[in-house]
């Protein structure tokens, strides 16, 4: 077994019997059926868009002591790896659907750095007074008005110079238009308040999805 470092803390590439796995360093049990290799957990790219972004070696930055606001946490698949990465930080995980929230609660009971919030990301005022200013807002909510939602949450919670990762699903913005056209409209809108750092196509793992990285002012 060979362990190769990546540019992100607590994230490694593992070579096991000639096969490569993206993994996070973790003492915790599997959360969504991912494989465990002593002291590491497989980060399944088909289940997590952030995983694909990290695997592509894109220059994203996440630090161990970061405060993170995660919008659209679902049952905590990606949050579980982020919690491994930001092991000295805090993740505020917002999800509004009660079903997947069951899984998120299970994760939060296990991890000291995950704070689960059953709230609607469209109403940041309903968690303003719980969530502090953060270093990163990560958004994966697949909603038509998600950019507006991101802007509002940034206004409430993103520190100056903070960082954003937005997952955009073309189909949920407009089910008929050309994805490329949608993406460029989204970028244009984001440029009003943010600096675009990068945008990455998530094919073939996540069809018609891109990830956009932005900096705040």
């Amino acid at each position: 077994m060979r362990v190769i470092e990546t540019r992100i803390p607590n994230v490694f590439i593992l070579e096991v019997d000639g096969r490569k796995f993206l993994v996070t360093r973790s003492e915790y049990p599997p959360h969504y059926g991912e494989r465990k290799f002593n002291g590491f957990k497989e980060w399944r790219l088909s289940r997590s868009k952030l995983g694909v972004l990290v695997e592509r070696g894109i220059k994203i930055k996440i630090e161990r002591d970061w405060k993170i606001l995660y919008l659209g946490a679902a049952s905590g698949t990606t949050v579980s790896h982020l919690a491994d990465i930001a092991d000295r930080g805090v993740i505020y995980a917002v999800e509004y659907a009660p079903r997947p929230f069951i899984g998120l609660l299970r994760l939060a009971r296990e991890r000291k750095n995950v704070i689960p919030l059953l709230r609607n990301a469209e109403l940041p005022e309903s968690y303003n007074g719980i969530v502090e200013r953060v270093d990163l807002i990560y958004q994966d909510i697949a909603q038509k008005n998600q950019i507006e939602i991101f802007e509002e949450n940034a206004r409430f919670f993103l520190r100056d110079g903070g960082y954003g990762i937005i997952m955009v699903k073309a189909k949920s913005m407009d089910s008929t238009a050309d994805p490329r056209k949608i993406y460029s409209e989204v970028m244009e809108r984001l440029e009003n308040n943010f600096r675009i750092i990068n945008s990455v196509d998530l094919e073939p793992y996540h069809k018609d999805h891109i990830a956009i990285e932005v900096g705040y002012r």
Partner: protein, 258 residues
């Protein structure tokens, strides 16, 4: 202003833990620093540990409230659907009576009125069913995949909620909706045949099988439904394999029954 660990009023701070906050404007102070300065917590570790524990407790309570009200909503929907169906049937019968007396709508406005309302009730039924399907997929995705949204909703309705359905053994699930038949069988003593026609006998994979293997399929389906409901109630994870096993069993039985 209310934050999760207290209230700030006229520069005065009162400590009180409550996650039900609402502040329309971004805060202009450091939420964590302020709490420690005011000795609400001795350090950051204590701050986050307290918040996390409170959040788990508070959000779990709210989650359960939402889930509870959602399956009750499903029960109301399926009942409204049945009510609409009943109305359609009653009015159609009456319309038939009137028409068989020789009246047509040119000469009798009530005929046209009735036809019109029956149509709109049929539309209502379709709309309710659409809503029901959406709610079922959200509240009980595994049950919906295995049993379908109508049968699934009827099972929830008869059991009195998702939780109660999740607690039933599959032998009980198999006979839900056949209670009257069961009662009759029991009162006839040993010679009464056990009932066979619970709600799940309406399932296409049971209904379309030969009579000799129908019972076997129903027992198998009840087992799958029981697993599906428990998954829905306790974990929320979606298991695609449940549905596949069902089709295989159906084809095996179909082959066997000739």
């Amino acid at each position: 202003m209310k934050v999760w660990y207290g209230e700030i009023k006229d520069d005065e701070f009162r400590r009180k833990f409550d996650l039900d906050v609402r502040n329309e404007r971004p805060l202009d102070f450091d939420l964590v620093g302020f709490a420690i300065e005011n000795s609400v917590f001795s350090d950051r570790d204590e701050y986050y540990e307290t918040l996390r524990e409170l959040a788990i407790k508070n959000e779990e309570r709210r989650m359960k409230e939402i889930l509870r009200s959602e399956d009750m909503f499903i029960i109301s929907l399926i009942r409204a659907y049945d009510d609409a169906l009943k109305c359609v049937n009653l009015l159609s019968e009456r319309l038939y009576d009137i028409k068989s007396l020789g009246y047509e709508d040119e000469e009798s406005p009530p005929v046209a009125w009735l036809e019109d309302r029956i149509e709109s009730l049929k539309k209502l039924r379709k709309e309710l069913e659409g809503e029901l399907e959406e709610k079922m997929l959200a509240v009980a995705p595994n049950l919906t995949r295995v049993a379908g949204h109508m049968i699934g909703a009827r099972l929830i309705e008869r059991a009195g909620g998702l939780k109660r359905l999740a607690m039933l053994p599959s032998s009980k699930i198999q006979v839900i909706g056949a209670e009257r038949a069961l009662y009759r069988a029991l009162s006839r003593g040993k010679r009464g045949k056990p009932p066979k026609h619970g709600i799940i006998y309406q399932h296409p994979l049971v209904r379309t099988l030969g009579r000799r293997v129908r019972g076997k399929m129903a027992r198998y389906l009840a087992g799958k439904i029981s697993l599906a409901v428990r998954l829905d109630y306790f974990s929320g994870r979606i298991d695609d394999e449940l549905e596949m096993g069902l089709k295989k069993r159906f084809h095996d039985l179909k082959g066997g029954s000739g």
